[in-house]
């Protein structure tokens, strides 16, 4: 582990991942919680979420050299991989392991301590997102959790950007109110 990389931007970490393995370690540390939270909110099971996360980061490492910085942050690229991985795993009925096999990674066996740390990841807010009406839920997830831009979300949801903004705003308002109630 090297703290030197902790301050470097994502784009640099990905560009140097193959030359400096510690750079990818820093990239992992930076995004671990959000990716794990993303999967936890969708599958509910900590072990499956950890498995999906392992495959996502393995795929990211395998294709890091093909990453090209764009307008969107590198995390959007990472979450794109996470989304594909989740969709593919659902389609197949099992967690994908291709990227890990390709990299020669052993199956992930979680220690009790790791399980506890995963359980500590507060899913309250994520659970509240699930309680939002469908259209707001989709918009909040895409914008806040996946950090996608409005135009991209609007294209996906087949509506205008203004509608997406309104849904996100209403969804966040409802979340705030729910959190205050709790």
């Amino acid at each position: 582990m090297s703290a030197v990389w902790d301050a470097a931007p994502d784009e640099r970490l990905l560009a140097t991942a193959r030359a400096e393995p510690a750079a990818f370690g820093a990239f992992y540390r930076r995004h671990e919680d959000r990716v794990l939270g993303y999967f936890l909110a969708r599958v509910g099971d900590p072990e499956v979420a950890a498995d999906l996360m392992a495959e996502t980061f393995a795929a990211a490492l395998a294709s890091a050299h093909r990453f090209r910085p764009r307008k969107e942050p590198a995390s959007a690229w990472l979450f794109g991989i996470a989304r594909n991985n989740l969709a593919m795993s659902r389609r197949r009925g099992r967690v994908e392991a291709r990227a890990r096999r390709r990299l020669g990674m052993a199956p992930l066996v979680l220690t009790d301590e790791s399980m506890e740390r995963i359980a500590d990841l507060d899913p309250t807010t994520l659970a509240l997102v699930d309680e939002l009406p469908g259209d707001q839920q989709e918009a909040v997830r895409a914008r806040v959790i996946d950090e996608r831009d409005y135009a991209d979300i609007a294209k996906d949801l087949r509506c205008s950007e203004a509608v997406v903004r309104k849904r996100v705003s209403r969804g966040l308002g409802a979340l705030r109110a729910n959190l205050e109630d709790k």
């Binding site: 393995p21 370690g25 540390r29 996360m53 490492l61 389609r91 197949r92 990299l103 790791s114």
Partner: protein, 194 residues
Amino acid sequence: MTRIPELEQQLVAAAERLRSPRRFARPVLRAALAVGVGAVVLGLAVVVAGPDDGARREQPAGASPVPPTADREGAPEPFIPERQRIARTANRWARNFIYADPEDCTYMTQPACERLSCVRVGARPVPNCTPPSPAYRLSFARERVRDVEIRGNRAAARFSNGEVVELERVSGDELDGVWWITKWDRNAGRGFFE
């Protein structure tokens, strides 16, 4: 401290392996091997074809023996007659089939692949579906396609063990069409070789 430090260690170790010089040498070796294999195949083709290659290129219609085709992954592909393309696809599919990886849908259409894993899109089980037994899978080990019968966009390939698979042209035409397996069970190829 991360939540799953063992995963971080695995990823860093994997990145280390990607950096190792062996990794850089591998593509070079692969390319050299592909060139070598390509040269050997080309040499054999010239020797075997002889002066009347044009007359032998397409085989007559109807079920006829198909010479096993060598796999030349990585080498540039010359024109391959349709029967040989079908035989090659079926041979490659059989090689994957014996390894029993339900995730591997290579050379298969979606329904054929679902029939293999007994799982539909969205992780829904396929009703009344039984995955192929290991014995059935292994019956394809070392078998090669012997006959091919084409009917329009459908075809059947019979292996040397008597098993038949059905294929469909999923793109292209007679000259460069791509064929995929649509059926591989006991019902495959009914009526093709009768």
